[in-house]
């Protein structure tokens, strides 16, 4: 049933958020440290295990895939509920600080990419060569 997939997804997110919060408490800050990231890792590992043991039928997968496929509309709604007015009326110091840091960070992406040795193919290719499945 689809709810099994959605429940698994929700349990992973909640567990990740709780661990992220605990991690924040341990290092003494009032923020969630990597909760969503922990949840992603958990979902990958648990779903893989369930898949291998045959406990991940298509209906259950659909309960996760629906949320993944509605990601872009959710991001559009997120954009529509941002405080854009505050950003624009924040004054030149805020706009310059924000713009400058974005420009420099963009420029650093290829530099840090070159630091490592492992070569990565563009996603188009990594997706088509997944022959082991």
């Amino acid at each position: 049933m689809a709810i099994y997939g959605t429940a698994l997804l929700s349990i992973c997110l909640l567990t990740g958020l709780l661990l992220g919060k605990l991690l924040g408490i341990v290092i003494g800050i009032d923020a969630n440290v990597g909760g969503v990231g922990i949840a992603m890792l958990m979902l990958i590992v648990v779903a893989e295990k369930l898949h291998q043991s045959g406990h991940m039928p298509q209906p259950s997968r659909n309960g996760i895939l629906f949320w993944s496929s509605i990601y872009i509309p959710i991001v559009v709604a997120m954009a529509a509920s941002q405080n854009v007015r505050a950003a624009i009326t924040g004054g030149p110091a805020a706009i310059i600080a924000g713009a400058l840091v974005v420009a420099i960070s963009f420029a650093l992406v290829p530099l840090i990419s070159r630091l490592g040795s492992a070569d990565f193919d563009p996603v188009e290719q990594t997706n088509s060569d997944g022959g082991e499945e």
């Binding site: 890792l41 990601y71 709604a77 840091v101 490592g116």
Partner: protein, 257 residues
């Protein structure tokens, strides 16, 4: 006439999430139509949809004076629920479904390097801009630097250090500018910065750090890159909140104090 509108509005408000699904669905449909017909596919439909969303958010803020964009209009409050942290994070985690673990582990180290570089760079650049605009005490410089990291790091750092509310507001504005620019600009610079594989996506997420910016920017570039960027970005705000009021403030105090 007014009474009819009020009773119609009460339906839209009561079913606000359904209203949001309808409106966002129409927005996405129109955006993909514009993408294929007018730009001949050169600008991704989701990039147009996100831009559309930001324009609506500005209009909402201008009309209501509130902080949640178009979601401050009562009958559209469902947009805030649909695009809020709860469903956004659920959808982000769902994008990781189907990714193989070794793809994360072999990109992980680059993500960590990018995270540290991203947080330190943001504080440094933000503090420099603050200094140029006459905010020359260590507390203000660190707080605005935190804002240049994300709009959460700024106020967390500022309240820890006892910054004035004016400086904290400025830091939030800087973070908002960053997140909106990342959403808008990423698809346009993606090709020239090599943002086309899991590793560069993770580096991108670590450098930018703004979850909403990375989520929107990568969605408008290539949806398959989302889990990698989001994975790194999710650690950024925590790291910024950890380093800002501590190490970075101490260093800043030595330099300008």
């Amino acid at each position: 006439m007014m009474e009819i509108w009020e009773s119609l509005e009460s339906v839209l408000s009561k079913y606000s999430l359904v209203t949001a699904f309808s409106l966002v669905g129409i927005m996405v449909w129109v955006s993909y139509l514009i993408s294929s017909r007018i730009t001949k596919g050169r600008i991704h439909g989701s990039a147009i949809a996100i831009l559309f969303g930001l324009l609506l958010a500005y209009a909402g803020g201008a009309i209501t004076g509130g902080e949640k964009g178009i979601a401050d209009i009562a009958c559209l409050s469902g947009i805030g629920l649909m695009g809020g942290a709860m469903l956004r994070d659920l959808a982000i985690v769902a994008t990781a479904f189907g990714v193989r673990l070794n793809e994360f582990t072999k990109t992980g180290l680059s993500g960590v390097v990018a995270l540290l570089a991203g947080v330190l760079l943001s504080f440094f650049v933000g503090a420099l801009v603050a200094y140029a605009f006459g905010y020359r005490d260590a507390v203000s410089m660190t707080t605005i630097g935190g804002g240049a990291a994300t709009y959460i790091v700024g106020p967390v750092t500022g309240s820890a250090l006892g910054a004035s509310s004016e400086i904290i507001a400025l830091s939030v504005a800087a973070g908002l500018v960053k997140s909106i620019l990342v959403m808008i600009m990423t698809p346009f610079v993606a090709k020239s910065i090599g943002l086309d594989n899991p590793r560069s996506a993770m580096i991108f997420g670590g450098l930018m750090g703004t979850t909403s910016g990375v989520a929107g920017g990568l969605a408008a570039t290539d949806e398959r890159l989302v889990p990698y960027g989001a994975m790194a970005a999710t650690f950024y705000t925590g790291l910024g909140c950890l380093l800002g009021p501590s190490v970075i403030f101490v260093v800043m105090n030595i330099i300008v104090g």
